[in-house]
């Protein structure tokens, strides 16, 4: 009796001792492959530490720790190489720096993936190293070049048509942004024209009325729709052209931190934009737009 329990206890003790002495951790990457890694290298990763200590996962092949999806095989092996080097004590700062310089030499795609992976594993030194390198490679580049380097699509697709065309803040007076804003402003106007013509139900015809007629029409009745057709091109004085700013904010979903200032574009316009009411939309606004526009017409 005594011997049986004694030996059972010894066995249990031996088993748990073996488990504690396990020097490997098992990890699973996003593509499903399982990797065996030396414990001392990865145990200080915040998430791995948590999984092993709190949840008891990762100590056997059948229960590997699932790594975040940003970590694939290639990036994992790079990360492990990096950690293996730096965790060795006694290396001088110079050695570490030289290693880093060599380590970081890879194409930008790899760098990007590595940055993402390191970020998901909260490995601050590696994140800083990769981001510093990426920062250096994007310094002084145009937005288009940056999009290419960091693989960002020209993606404003989650915004509506209107929002995409709203002017960007241009505090540094960047000529690229200035041009973009000008092009967008032009496009906005074109869109507005297109929309208005779709919405207006009255038959399209060239407005032959004289200025006086128009004035009396407007003053006399409802200060509503006085439409012009697209075909008519009046050349206006460019300077004080005021475009509707209030209507443009319709339907725009904006997150708190994106703010936009609406510019008053100074473009010469070949399209007639004096009257910009929308049938079916706020008529109150039409009145405001009318007056300055009317003044301009009368001034001519």
């Amino acid at each position: 009796m005594h011997c049986a329990t004694c030996s059972k206890n010894k066995l249990l003790f031996a088993l748990s001792w073996i488990q504690m002495m396990q020097s490997y951790i098992w990890l699973k990457t996003a593509d499903g492959s399982i990797h065996r890694v030396e414990k001392e290298i990865v145990i200080f990763f915040p998430m791995i530490c948590q999984e092993v200590v709190c949840k008891g996962v990762g100590t056997s092949k059948n229960h590997p720790i699932s790594l975040p999806q940003q970590v694939n095989q290639a990036t994992l092996s790079l990360i492990l190489d990096y950690c293996r080097f730096h965790l060795v004590h006694g290396r001088s700062n110079k050695e570490r720096k030289t290693y880093d310089q060599k380590f970081i030499r890879m194409d930008t795609t790899m760098l990007r993936e590595l940055a993402s992976a390191a970020d998901s594993l909260q490995l601050k030194p590696l994140v800083d190293l990769t981001c510093r390198t990426l920062g250096r490679s994007t310094e002084g580049k145009t937005p288009e070049e940056i999009r290419e380097i960091l693989n960002f699509p020209d993606d404003l697709s989650h915004l509506t048509d209107e929002e995409r065309l709203l002017p960007l803040k241009n505090t540094m007076d960047d000529p690229g942004i200035r041009l973009l804003n000008r092009l967008n402003a032009k496009k906005r106007k074109e869109l507005k024209e297109g929309e208005r013509l779709q919405n207006v139900e009255v038959e399209e015809h060239v407005d032959e009325r004289s200025v006086d007629d128009l004035v009396s029409f407007i003053n006399g009745g409802d200060a509503k729709v006085v439409k012009t057709s697209k075909g008519k091109k009046k050349n206006k004085k460019k300077k004080d052209q005021k475009i509707v700013s209030s209507n443009e904010k319709e339907g725009a979903e904006e997150t708190g931190s994106i703010t936009r200032e609406v510019e008053v574009p100074n473009l010469p316009s070949t399209e007639d934009d004096i009257f910009t009411p929308k049938a079916g939309s706020e008529d109150g606004d039409s009145d405001d737009e009318m007056d300055p526009a009317m003044k301009e017409m009368l001034d001519r």
Binding site: S116, C131, T138, F152, M172
Partner: protein, 272 residues
């Protein structure tokens, strides 16, 4: 294709420059968000900025970016004796020491120098030379107050009045000294030389007096002129001890009396 998360983008931007961060807003919405984040602007703000703003203004800033913008406007500090400013595109620090902050020999003597409130001065007072034969102006600043790893130039901000005299006969000596380093002495005239006088001098002295090595004051955009006193480099952050930079202009070799310069201060700004 997986894109970088916002934190990564912010991290990347923090390793570029303020100029890049402003212009990269149009890359993508993520960039715009990252470019507005406090994380990025905290890195661009000069170290010790909290001490500066607490003494000069009590505004509450809603973001570090806003604070950065505010510091790009000139801020009066140290009881109005100095002006602090950061260059918007690079984030580098510029200081202007007021005339009161400099040591000007005999400036306390009413008969030699006159202090007054001038509408064109950036400070509450500027000083005008009435007459002296010993012109010596010195300013001091700590390298620790400036941006690290930067080439700086020191410039004397001055004007020449209509009734000025004695300024273009003998060039002044200017130098800048950092810590215990040596000083390289340059020369510069105190006023722009008159064309006629130049012609006469050339006729009389021929090649003996070559003007090439001697500079003249340069006209600035703000209505003042500046004389370059010298240049120096700031070391890496924290590596060296804070060193004292001494910047000076002296004209003591000519025995003639001079008068009619107005001094607004010394500007210490990054060189291109």
């Amino acid at each position: 294709m997986k894109m970088l998360p916002e934190e990564c983008v912010a991290n990347i931007l923090s390793f570029t420059t303020p100029a890049d961060t402003f212009s990269s807003a149009s890359v993508s919405p993520v960039f715009r968000l990252a470019g507005d984040s406090d994380f990025v602007w905290e890195k661009f703000l000069p170290s010790g900025y909290s001490r500066l703003i607490s003494t000069s203004t009590h505004r509450n800033f809603s973001s570090k970016k806003e604070l950065y913008r505010c510091l790009c406007e000139s801020v009066l500090i140290d009881n109005g004796r100095k002006i602090f400013k950061i260059e918007k595109l690079s984030g580098k620090i510029t200081y202007v020491l007021s005339a009161r902050d400099l040591s000007i020999t005999w400036s306390d003597q009413r008969h030699y120098w006159s202090w007054s409130n001038r509408s064109d001065s950036r400070f509450s007072e500027a000083v005008q030379l009435i007459m002296t034969d010993w012109l010596e102006i010195t300013g001091k600043i700590q390298t620790g107050a400036l941006s690290p790893n930067t080439s700086y130039g020191a410039y004397l901000l001055m004007k020449v009045t209509e009734r000025a005299y004695g300024l273009d006969l003998v060039p002044a000596e200017t130098w800048v000294k950092v810590g215990n380093g040596g000083k390289k002495i340059h020369t510069s005239y105190l006023s722009c030389l008159d064309d006629k006088k130049q012609l006469m001098k050339r006729l009389f002295y021929g090649h003996r007096e070559q003007r090439m090595a001697k500079k003249e004051p340069r006209v600035r955009g703000d209505g003042w002129m500046e004389i370059e006193l010298g240049e120096f480099e700031t070391g890496r952050e924290g590596e060296e001890h804070d060193k004292e930079v001494v910047m000076s202009l002296t004209e003591v070799k000519g025995y003639q009396l001079k008068g009619g310069i107005v001094i607004d201060g010394i500007e210490v700004r990054p060189k291109r």
